[in-house]
């Protein structure tokens, strides 16, 4: 051990006064640290200003109009007072539901494949690349795609077409976040399952997916939140309707369908005070809807963990 000591440089702390323990702003690094803390706090506050002003405006302008009638009545005609957007809420729920029904199982199973595939698997790399490209996909193109594949073939705007467009937008988010969540499952848990004599399928179903479920749900919620707010792809596909998405007593998926996003888009640009106020209220309802879905998802995943 002694040779190491001999090779050491002369004491680099020579002349440093270790007796001074008091905090002092005269020390440059203390001053710098304080300054940086102030900058970080200031920037955070700055970033919060637009966020809070949007939320505040939403509650301020939208909250005034909030009433039960909004949820039960149909949109008013120009110059008509009152009315609601119950059909748009129903339409948004139906189309986001359809989109989730299509994209969540497909996305999760794709993620299982990506997470289990070996690194040199070409198909996996190509799929992952495509999913990453799709995350930045302009949403209007998803609408154009659904227009070409569903609207033109079936001959009309429909909730199905809208659902497909939204599903295309949700798929990459669900897939990529689910893959991340699956990869976060510790290798030792996988080993434990395999060591118990679990097949690959059993390992995925009984260990990987349950363990990764909170992360997967987070991804699903993100995707749902995005899909619920999309307007452009719905303009080409579901269009809008002033009526309930039903035919007789049944839900009808093959007719033009209203949605909150398109309602906001339509009403916000109208020269009628009632419609503009309704657009504000619809925006608030949309935000609250997404919030409720998010909270529900979080509660669900928390229960999953405790089990």
């Amino acid at each position: 051990m002694t040779p190491v000591l001999e090779r050491m440089e002369p004491n680099p702390f020579e002349g440093v006064d270790f007796g001074k323990l008091e905090r002092s702003l005269q020390k440059p690094r203390t001053l710098f640290s304080l300054l940086m803390s102030a900058v970080v706090t200031g920037m955070t506050l700055l970033a919060l200003i637009p966020l809070f002003s949007v939320v505040w405006m939403l509650f301020w302008r939208g909250g005034r109009k909030l009433s039960l009638a909004l949820f039960t009545q149909l949109p008013p005609a120009p110059l008509e007072q009152g009315g609601g957007f119950g059909n748009a809420i129903a339409g948004t729920l139906i189309m986001v539901g359809l989109a989730a029904l299509a994209s969540v199982p497909a996305g999760i199973l794709t993620a299982v494949f990506l997470a289990q595939a070996r690194p040199e698997n070409r198909l996996a790399s190509a799929t992952r690349f495509a999913a990453k490209v799709l995350t930045g996909f302009p949403s209007i193109l998803a609408g154009v795609f659904a227009y070409g594949t569903v609207v033109l073939i079936t001959g009309g705007f429909s909730a199905i077409a809208g659902g497909l467009a939204l599903a295309i937008l949700m798929l990459p988010t669900v897939t990529l976040t689910a893959e991340d969540a699956l990869r976060m499952v510790p290798e030792k848990m996988k080993e434990a399952a395999i060591g118990m004599g679990a097949t690959q399928t059993q390992t995925v179903w009984m260990v990987l997916l349950p363990t990764a479920m909170p992360g997967i749900l987070t991804g699903v919620m993100l995707a749902v939140a995005r899909a619920a707010g999309e307007t452009a792809p719905l303009l080409f596909t579901a269009l809008f309707s002033n009526y309930w998405p039903t035919r007789g007593a049944h839900v009808a998926l093959m007719q033009p369908t209203a949605s909150l996003a398109v309602l906001i888009y339509n009403f916000a640009s109208m020269p009628f005070a009632n419609q503009v106020e309704m657009a504000w209220a619809a925006a608030l309802v949309l935000v609250l809807l997404v919030l409720v879905v998010n909270l529900a998802g979080q509660a669900l995943s928390r229960r999953q963990v405790q089990q």
Partner: protein, 275 residues
């Protein structure tokens, strides 16, 4: 998915070797890719005995253990020459299903690795895998009792397995492994992440378990091998071919290996000349 319930309960009856050898392991060469990890290692694991593998780090003792239930299949580039006969059947024969092998030859790992689910579900995992139709509660209880954990957890079976202490987690993993009543338990340094008191508990448990199970254990703790093992194999690293290839130096009754080692390397290792 799980069709082999009946098989799992009753292992196929085939004549055992007369001297009670349950796993007859003979590794001629073992590669990871082009890296030769182990050579010339023959270890007979005997029924209701504890067989310990000792040796310095990197001597391949864990690798050898993981050969015994084909856990090495998960490692890319794994290649193996030799045989591992479980009750006379070569488990590396192409007709053998490695998944089925692992149901008879269970494993406890170095790091306690309970699933992120309740204590009960952890133990019931193997029962669910095999579609066990009988009284699950009774099985879970007896497995937890078998792992000396029942009294500590009986009032919180629904709590997460991850909420337990390290030693408890490891006993939970043992309970999980014995719930399906495998014939052999492989333990890969089961105490290396535990404190001395938890270690002592696991050691006592192993001694109790050997009346029902056959145990093979890897340990870097010589005292542990001396305390619990009936027979001991000493592996050492051979660097003569350039790489670091592990091989078996000496194998025998623990008493003999520790008190009267025949080989120079064994003597040096046991007397603490290197580690």
């Amino acid at each position: 998915m799980s069709t082999g319930t009946a098989e799992v309960k009753e292992p196929p009856e085939s004549p055992e070797a007369g001297d009670g050898v349950v796993i007859d392991c003979k590794i001629d060469k073992l590669f990871y890719g082009s890296f030769k990890a182990v050579r010339d290692t023959t270890i007979p694991v005997k029924k209701n005995k504890i067989t310990a593998f000792i040796g310095p780090s990197g001597c391949g003792k864990s690798t050898v253990l993981r050969c015994l239930n084909r856990m090495n299949d998960l490692v890319r580039g794994f290649r193996f020459e030799g045989h591992v006969r479980y009750r006379g059947k070569d488990i590396y024969h192409p007709s053998i299903d490695p998944v089925a092998v692992r149901r008879y030859i269970g494993m406890v790992f170095q790091q306690p690795n309970p699933f992120a689910t309740s204590i009960y579900n952890n133990v019931a995992f193997g029962l669910r895998l095999n579609g066990y139709k009988g009284d699950r509660h009774a099985k879970v209880e007896s497995a937890l009792k078998g792992a000396a954990l029942w009294d500590e957890v009986k009032d919180k079976l629904h709590k997460s397995g991850l909420s337990l202490s390290g030693g408890q987690q490891q006993r939970l993993c043992i309970a999980r492994a014995i719930a399906t009543e495998p014939e052999v338990l492989l333990m890969d340094e089961p105490c290396s992440a535990l404190d001395p008191i938890a270690t002592r508990k696991i050691e006592e448990l192993m001694t109790e378990l050997k009346s029902r199970y056959t145990i093979a254990i890897v340990t870097h703790n010589l005292q542990q091998a001396q305390r619990v093992a009936d027979q001991t194999g000493f592996l050492y690293v051979d660097t003569s071919e350039g790489g670091r290839t592990g091989y078996l130096v000496e194998f025998g009754e623990s008493k003999q290996v520790f008190e009267a080692p025949q080989q120079k390397h064994t003597q040096e290792y046991i007397s603490g000349a290197f580690s």
